[in-house]
Symmetry: C2
Subunit: 83 residues, 2 copies
């Protein structure tokens, strides 16, 4: 990343109580493979965003794109980590 | 999480130089929506693992399941964060 770029990472998780078929499937596979110490698996996604260093009101912009594009607010939540 | 469970999170990223079609698509969409301050988007996945507190050699176990099941070692790398 150049000096003209800031970075933010958006972590997207399913809300508590929402079924996570991918996590369930992976957990089953682990158990079948003999890895019985893994008691649960929950999956999520993240997006690393390169942002112009002179961008204005970046917190608001990130919030907007999370709600509009990166997540499904009905079933997902997100957290943002900035450098 | 109960006291009998430890947590680890595995973050899976595409290796540098590997094309990320999802990230490219999201970046294009952001630009078309007028969000020109976002210069790049790179996508990844993560898995929250609940692990038995009395599990032995857990670092080795996590490494194994990452290589065998959670990632494609040819094009992806992973990092592990433990509580």
């Amino acid at each position: 990343m150049s000096n003209n770029t800031k970075k933010a990472v958006v972590y997207v998780r399913l809300k508590d109580g929402v079924l996570d078929p991918q996590g369930v499937t992976i957990h089953k596979a682990l158990t079948q493979m003999g890895y019985n110490d893994f008691l649960s698996v929950r999956s999520g996604r993240f997006f690393e965003l390169g942002i112009a260093a002179d961008a204005g009101d970046i917190d608001r912009q990130i919030d907007e794109v999370c709600s509009k594009l990166l997540t499904n607010p009905v079933i997902e939540t997100f957290t943002v980590e900035k450098d």
